[in-house]
Amino acid sequence: MRYPLGLSRSRFRAWATRPTVMVYGAMLALFFLFAIVIPGYGSLNNVMNIVRLSAFLGIVAGGQTLVIISGGIDLSVGAIMSFADVIVAELSLLHMSPGIAILVTVGAGIGMGLINGLAVVFLRIPPLIMTFAVGFVIDGLALIITAGSPGGTVPALLTSLGSGSIGVVPIILVPWILYGLVIYLVMHRMVFGRYLYAIGQNRSVARMAGTPYNSVTVGVYVLSGLSATLAGLLLAGFSGVAYLGIGTPYTLEAVAAVVIGGSSILGGSGNYLGTVAGTIIFTMIQGGMTVLNISQAGRYLTEGIVIILLLLAYGRSKKLV
């Protein structure tokens, strides 16, 4: 008996049960399921549409991947996304040029990530609590700055990036691929990435072995804030109008996408490739349910049950004994 990829039986088993491989299997299975049930689902146009809609979650989940691998969690990403979405348009009311507005927004996002990271490292506030509280504060800031009714215009650059296409290919694929490349380099080609996994595996050991725990951890939250800001900016370009709370659902979806993608919520293992598949699974469920005219209730139920089933398939921890 020959096994695919020219591998021996045990090697093939080891390959096929890797979380990253299994999540891509689940993604393809879901795609074919929808393609059979929904006419026209498999068309190139629709595939491109899925990719476009996945990009926002895909980018914000990239930062979340780094944070989760380092052993933390970032619950402020949804608020940072909303903030970027609203503020970049609001700044146009101050007669700021679009380029400066984007830079200011990115700077704000980096600052928010920096605050998260510094508090986690130096004040030793648990990340779950710190980032949750910071999310509250950022949502509050956006509300105060816009006085409850955001206005202004989204820079044209973002509109073309978020909703433009070249032929059938959505332009948003370009920033997403570039982003993915940067994340890949950071995680697998830079020493930062190795420190990241080391700290996620065992913080004390990594610290005693001399990894720069403080700066790596702060850096991880800064990158997460930056990712959320980019996702928020692209989302502003896609939706064209700014509204408060647009990013809120992305927080928990990003965490779920990372974990479905095979990263351990306890830290120390995982990769961005898996997260991308997790993101696409989420987007397909939401899109497919909309087409099938299934109510919000059914959508929630399906999402929850799919997460549990995927986790039971490959996310279980080892027995204690």
């Binding site: 648990p126 609590i129 710190m130 949750f132 509280a133 509050g140 509300l143 919520i265 049950i305 921890s317």
Partner: protein, 323 residues
């Protein structure tokens, strides 16, 4: 937690509460009017129950992100069945909360999955079920039930009696039973507890079931005071309940904490909301202020442990903090 312990965090909780009470007394003495206090307690009761449920779970070293949506689900169930079924509707509602907790606990313990992710998924499931049962806010509660939740026991509101009884039972149960000791044991060191003959799976299933029951009681109080059901009311309670537990000084790492501290944490959050209301601060600032208070309260404790004050302790701290 064999007896209420007076820790350094206790000071922060008590001082914050006293400060808030003083501010409230200055800006609006009417807050302490009898009727107003009763309204305050009834409004705070659902969060109190959810926060107590969250406390017992955090003591095992877990966390439950689905308690808020579960509160919403039981609220919707109660608002649908209390009128047609009467007293047995009460049992149906309680039972649904208990069963929901049992399912969550079983998936976590038998599936060997991380609580944070399982409960994240379960929160989606409970929200879906709530919307399935009641797509629009509605339903109702019978008169006897509303009177029961807003009624009095002599001059003392029933809700207050209920809260005190539940808190005392939990405190007594956790400090005097084998189960309570086992919860703290697996929260402190799951592997060690297991080698000592404790079954983590059994304890976890029991604890999530207990939390489901407590949340159902909170949902029933909510149903009584609102006299209706709302499928979207629940989710906001999840993170607020965690905030209350943490503000009270219980550590997220598990194995350590107390019921009384959580009550202090709930009181801080509720008094803060009152203060913002009476100061006439725009509700725009509410999120901002609550977030800042949480950060400051969490930051105050650890600041004295900053490495600049104890540079030689850094590595040993890292080890003892468990990483």
């Amino acid at each position: 937690m064999s007896r209420p312990q007076w820790q350094s965090t206790t000071w922060v909780v008590v001082l914050l509460n006293v400060a808030l009470l003083v501010i409230l007394a200055v800006i609006n003495p009417m807050f302490f009017a009898y009727n107003n206090l009763i309204t305050f307690i009834v409004d705070a009761a659902p969060l109190t129950m959810v926060a107590l449920a969250q406390t017992v779970i955090i003591l095992t070293g877990g966390i439950d992100l689905s308690l808020g949506p579960l509160l919403g689900l039981v609220n919707v169930i109660a608002a649908s069945v209390l009128v047609p079924l009467g007293l047995s509707g009460l049992f149906v509602s309680l039972l649904s909360g208990v069963l929901a907790g049992l399912v969550t606990g079983a998936i976590i313990a038998l599936g060997r999955l991380q609580p944070i992710i399982v409960t994240l998924a379960m929160s989606s499931v409970w929200s879906g079920l709530a919307l399935l049962i009641m797509p629009q806010p509605g339903g109702g509660a019978p008169q006897w039930f509303i009177l029961g939740t807003t009624g009095f026991f002599g001059a003392v509101p029933m809700i207050l009696v209920l809260l005190v009884v539940v808190a005392i039972l939990l405190w007594y149960g956790f400090s005097n039973t084998r189960y309570g000791a086992h919860v703290l044991a697996i929260g402190a060191n799951e592997r060690g507890a297991m080698y000592s003959g404790v079954s983590p799976a059994k304890v976890k299933v029991l604890t999530y079931t207990l939390a489901g029951g407590l949340t159902a009681v909170g949902a029933l109080i909510l149903t009584g005071s609102a006299a209706s059901g709302d499928p979207t009311i629940g989710p906001a309670y999840t993170l607020t309940s965690i905030a209350a537990v943490v503000l009270g000084g219980t550590q997220l790492s598990g194995g350590k904490g107390s019921i009384w501290h959580t009550l202090g944490g709930v009181l801080i959050l509720e008094l803060l909301t009152q203060m913002i209301f009476y100061l006439g601060i725009s509700s725009f600032y509410q999120n901002l202020i609550e977030g800042l208070v949480l950060i400051v309260a969490m930051g105050v404790g650890p600041v004295k442990n900053l490495p600049i004050f104890h540079s030689e302790k850094r590595v040993s701290d890292a080890i003892s903090s468990g990483a």
